[in-house]
């Protein structure tokens, strides 16, 4: 009953919150926060109580099955935590904006539907929750209207294509096996022919790949992420997009099973190898495109695409290290990308919606907590040791090297440098350098915005120093997929071919920092100076113009920007253009003039008579 109760609270709470908003906005906010926190508590309660619940529905004799296994428990935890933090962040962000009742309704609906997806034990209820999620996400993306409308349209059109592929896939399963309950499909698939499995996998790859923004289905993501309200961008990039990864894990490891998909195809044409290469390309190109962006959210959005590549690469390998790394990376990505989007949200909130990286600067002195959040988030995204992002990347790299895929490893490693370059630009242009005069009186972010930032930063560092806490759980998921167990310790992983001990690194770095700091203290005390007290070769410091931001990596841009066009997007627009002109031709037939229509009828009759007589 617990699972149904959670969903009931999720969906019912969303509607209650909406109507509470009609009474007073205070009541609505209290409801929204309580419900989102209640969901976190209930999901924690389900930990370890893995079960299956069946709900009979008279309609078409379908059974609705809810299951809870380790994988869905982990995902549900991430969904509810990110959901709650975004709701708390929204309290100030959305205050005073119009249609905020509707905003909270949609936020809670998206949350509830994602929980529904991970709890569904059959493919039809999965589909229902999937569609609720897609549509409420669409309404939230286009919430601010204006530029957000075309971004939302692009998203929903691609989502519908994905849903169509999904429907085709499940109707194929249903006509063959007569059931859509996942646990009942598994034995049938085990005896199916490889070609049939391959066809199914390609269909589901399209369905989940679009949501997961895997190349070549990524084009909806950058505009959608940058136009959505920032707290929702955090959910969107952090976990909603990763529902696609949940779909991949479900179809590859639960429905089809490791034994069956790893043998598809031969040599370099094998399914999992091609999937791994898609992941690798997905890392390199988007991270380098991110470097060219001048819009802070668009920059992060491209990283959302790029980091998805690491996850696909990890789970495509089918080794215990790779899968653990891939799953761990999903949750690490959730923590730091949500953190970074919330940082941008806080900046937007204080500067009245400025996202242009070329018109900010020097905010570190005004918003220190936000800066620390941005720094830790960036370190996580880059994968600096002692952040959780490092551990998951380490697992993936190690797996790639030991399995003998050095070129895949190269793609993954060089992606790190694309990340460093673009994120340094992100931090530098927003927080470092000279503070423009118009931001002289800017206040720091309100507490309800700082709290989510602090919690997420803590998670990143904690799981970076003690990665064993989540890894033990993830290791059990891997075992349930039929993989060999990893030798996990609280501080990392032990093995003959290379051990990782993050706790030792942490203490070494801590001691080294203290020693250097003491040495630093011995030297003469330094004098604090203002930003205007600066070296300018003896010249007067030009106010407002002493900040190097525009074209931060100009020499590099010149070299590489011509190779970094989003060809896929251009191609889709080309197809859209052709469809539009075709439709225009068809439209010309319907001229709206009665005379023409009479002419068509006469022409048609004449043809009929001609055929009849001839």
């Amino acid at each position: 009953m617990t699972l149904q109760l959670i969903l009931l609270i999720g969906f019912g709470g969303a509607i209650v919150t909406y109507f509470a908003g009609k009474i007073s906005s205070k009541l609505r906010e209290i409801f929204a926060v309580i419900i989102s926190l209640l969901l976190v508590g209930m999901v924690i309660y389900t930990y370890g109580r893995y079960s299956q619940e069946i709900l009979k529905i008279g309609f078409l004799d379908f059974e609705i099955v809810f299951t809870l296994n380790r994988l869905s428990c982990l995902f549900a935890f991430a969904i509810t935590v990110i959901g709650a933090l975004s709701i708390i962040f929204s309290l100030s962000y959305i205050k005073g904006k119009e249609r905020s009742d509707f905003y909270y309704l949609m936020m809670l609906l998206v949350n509830a539907s994602m929980i529904g997806i991970v709890f569904s034990g059959d493919l039809i209820s999965f589909y229902i929750f999937w569609e609720i999620m897609s549509w409420s996400a669409f309404l939230l993306i286009s919430y601010t209207r204006g530029n957000a409308l075309p971004a939302g349209m692009k998203y929903i059109i691609m989502s519908i294509i994905g849903s169509a592929a999904y429907l085709l896939g499940i109707s194929l399963i249903y006509t063959n096996y007569g059931t859509l309950t996942i646990s009942e499909i598994v034995p049938f698939i085990a005896s199916a022919s490889p070609n049939y499995i391959l066809f199914l996998l390609i269909l589901f790859f399209i369905a989940f790949g679009i949501k997961n923004a895997v190349l070549p289905f990524h084009t909806w993501l950058p505009p959608a992420h940058s136009e959505a309200p920032s707290p929702f961008s955090a959910i969107l990039s952090g976990i909603l997009v990763r529902m696609g990864m949940y779909g991949f894990l479900l179809i590859l490891y639960i429905i089809v099973g490791l034994k069956n998909f790893i043998v598809l195809g031969k040599g370099i044409y094998s399914f999992h190898y091609i999937l791994a290469w898609i992941g690798a390309i997905n890392i390199v190109i988007p991270t380098f495109i991110a470097m060219l962006q001048n819009d802070s959210k668009r920059l992060l959005a491209w990283h959302g695409v790029g980091q998805g590549g690491y996850m696909v690469l990890g789970i495509a390998l089918g080794t215990n290290l790779g899968v653990a790394g891939g799953i761990f990376h999903i949750f690490n990505h959730t923590s730091y990308i949500a953190l970074l989007f919330l940082v941008v949200g806080a900046i937007e909130y204080r500067t009245n919606g400025v996202r242009n990286l070329n018109s900010l600067g020097g905010l570190i002195k005004k918003m220190p907590v936000t800066f620390i959040g941005a720094l830790i988030g960036s370190f996580g995204l880059i994968g600096i040791p002692l952040t959780n992002g490092f551990v998951s990347k380490w697992l993936i790299y190690k797996s790639l090297i030991l399995e003998g895929y050095p070129f895949l490893a190269f793609a993954a490693l060089i992606g790190t440098w694309g990340t460093i370059l673009s994120l340094y630009k992100f931090i530098h242009n927003i927080f470092l350098g000279q503070l423009p005069q118009k931001y002289e009186n800017i206040k720091k972010a309100p507490f309800s915005m700082q709290l989510p930032l602090i919690i997420l930063s803590t998670i990143i560092i904690l799981f970076g120093i003690l990665p064993g806490i989540p890894l033990k759980f993830i290791n059990n998921i891997g075992i349930s997929f039929g993989l060999k167990s990893l030798n996990v310790n609280i501080w990392g992983i032990t093995s003959e071919t290379g051990t990782l001990n993050t706790l030792n690194i942490f203490f070494a770095l801590l001691v080294a920092c203290i020693v250097v700091w003491l040495f630093f203290k011995i030297g003469k005390k330094s004098r604090k100076v203002s930003q205007e007290d600066n070296y300018a070769a003896g010249a007067h410091i030009p106010v407002e113009k002493y900040h190097y931001t525009v074209d931060f990596y100009a020499p590099l841009y010149k070299m590489i920007s011509k190779y970094l066009k989003d060809i896929v997007d251009i191609f889709y627009y080309w197809i859209a253009g052709i469809v539009e002109s075709l439709c225009n031709v068809v439209r010309k037939i319907y001229s709206g003039d009665i005379g023409t229509y009479v002419g068509y009828i006469l022409l048609f009759l004449a043809v009929l008579i001609y055929i009849y007589l001839g």
Binding site: P406, L413, L500, A508, N534, Y546, P555
Partner: protein, 297 residues
Amino acid sequence: MMIKIIEIIALPLIAFIIGIFFMGLARKIMARIHWRYGPPIFQPIIDMIKLLNQKSVSHGFIFDFGIIFSLAGTIVLILFIPFAKISPLSNSGGLLVILYLMLIAPLGLAISGGEAANPNTSIGISRKFILALGYEVPFILIILAVMKSFHSISLIHIVNTQQAGNWSIFSSVPLFLAGVAYFLILPAMLGLRPFDMVTAPQEISSGPKVEYGGKYLALISIEHALTLYISLALFVDLFLGGASNLIIFFIKILVVFIIGIFINAVFPRLRIEQAVKYLWGFPTLIALVGLILTTII
């Protein structure tokens, strides 16, 4: 346990002494090549003591923290790289950890320099990152070739295998190519002569260093000395078989360094685009051929 603690304290000190000695030596050799007399070899130490007693300015918390963090990261990195047989932390992580710990130093300096709010700093950092992207492409290919050949990500394992057999640079064609490529990018990693556009004094007032004075500059000199040691030690560990005792290890890094200096003393400074084009040209090609050969053999 006791021995380990002594090793942990001693290793960064040894690295510092070697690094600072090499910096002095480099100036002397450069001067002789340029037909000058040159400063005494221990000049960098004199400079450092002088700097510690000089006044300095600070632009804020991150300005201080970044530089401390950067130097701390470098010190930790030294503990992972075997110096002859001494490598106190090598069982906590292998080459992948080294690869990522190498990021701390430039990033720490970059955030510290960023708060200085001086465009010269920003331009210097921008150049540094572009240059880093330039040499990381061949560098990652080289490291991967080594890890693939030895089928291990543990540096101590790689050194021990070489001790038992042949130096890896002479053991197979792909590793020879990787070694050559490493030697070609070494000056770029160290920011030596043709690749000193990051700190070009005549163009951007020493770039990232422009706002630093006094003890900040002293910390940067220490950092520079340690980085010098790290790049050379890594080369010797990966390709020249490490060493069974301290003196042989020292001689090996000294020889590599002097050869490097002789080659690089005669080149004029490149522009950043030229540097990247060079790095993505021959060194990358050689490293790539090496990596392809490792997968075939």
